[in-house]
Amino acid sequence: MSNDVFVITDHMDGKFSDVSFEMVGKAKELASALGGGAVAVVVGSGVSSNVFASDSTIHVDDAALSQFNPEAYGKVIEALVKEKSPRLVMFGWTATGMDLAAWLSARLGVPCAAYVKNIDADLTMTCQVYGGKMSADVAPEGDMAIAACLAGSFPAEAGQGSTAATSIASPVSLDGLKTKFIEAIKPAGGDVDITAQTKLVSIGRGIGSKDNVELAEELAQKLGATVSSSRPVVDAGWLPRTRQVGKSGLKVKPKLYLMLGISGAPEHLEGMKSAELIIAINTDKKAPIFNVAHYGATADLFEVAEAMLELL
């Protein structure tokens, strides 16, 4: 049992995601309150790990870890956490962290909080739930807790530094894994690049059907804009994957982001919150998007879009 705070960092193609630095910064603050150290944990090979402001950095370097493999990464992290018994283990609520945090908590029988936006010195955690409509405060019991943190919750600068990492071999055997990495998948090209557009008309599930997409296309054309969307629109097959904005889609920063029928879930916000002018039309006055948009109207998107078409 120690009072250390572990940060399981997240990287792709040799580059750490912002949330890794954000968590290290927060871990330093928490560790000093708890009387322990902030430990950055890097699992992977071919990544330069002397980039954190942590008190120490452990780099588990093994050829079998050169690509993300949830089974291999999970085994390594479990062994390390069991050996060092930190007070708190932080993961990013990312494509990698989502595979590992809850798994580790079940393996170790320790509490886990997801969608963590803030952590107090007594380890009370504030979590965003119900698509950003609600916020919950939870307190973990016991000697160890796991926090899966939302990107953008803490400042990244505080975590950037040059602490020299200690490289170690994998603490567990990585032979006989059931999961094998086959190949990387690259984005499909051949469509407009929404990240390069200055104006986007973005549609969400509120658009209702594939046929209604045409209305957004017409409005976009009149505005000299391109149509983008939230994830459900793409999953329903109404627009191609290349138009998806958000966590698992693309990050955009247009001059205009006009939103029709998008609720503003945290995963969508991750892709567009730094747009210069955000205007949201939504029938639900409590939609979380109104906490982020610059202008909003509680109105029917079809009525507003049609009226705009007449005026343009």
Partner: protein, 251 residues
Amino acid sequence: MNIVVAIKHIPSIADDLPVKGNNVDFDSVDFVLNEFDEQSIEQAVLVKEAVGGTVTVVGVDLIGELDAVLHLALAKGADKAIKVTADEPSADSHQQAKWLSEAIKGLSPDIVFAGVQASNDLDGQIGPMLAAYLDMPYIGGVSSVEVSGNTATVNKEFAGGFGAKYAVSLPMVVGVQAASKPPRYAPISKVRQVAQTAAIEKVAPSGDASAGLTFKKMAPPVVTGHAEMIGGSSKEVAAKIVELLKSKGLA
């Protein structure tokens, strides 16, 4: 091939979410099928159509209303439905995952599907926990699954269209983000018909695994900003938006 799908019904986030005590008041909200479970049911049925087998849907009945989503799953192509009769709305994810894993073990699954997450998560997702309790590998954020013999080939999404392809020896647990095809639609008439004829197997909850996370408070988030709201009729809203865009040289 024994294909199992864990499904969950959750409060609809399209509605207001009144709070009672330190949680959402489950009695005054509508429950819907978790959107990612709609995807995982589709993915499971696609696998069955490709290689043969049985799709069993299973859920922990937390508020006594699970039948509706089990019927929906059956109407969409599942063959069998099981509910763990817990009637404990406040059971945490660890506890639910334990009950589910005990119910699923007896089915000798070759592949278990879960949704990548549900919006009312507090203590992590059940998919990876199921994998831990069943001692199977897990991959989440999956947007396509193909099974051949004893191996599943799955595509996992990262961000921006990047991803990775993995081959996994079965059995495994898959956390579905999206099915490889948009989910099929089950007409209401079919769901009604299923509701009248289908038998849902009941299983008593077994196993203990609460992890210890105490709720202190549930409330709408403290916000630092709010949009400037444009009032009036839809026509007036449209006029004001067009005016705003013109004033900024954006229209």
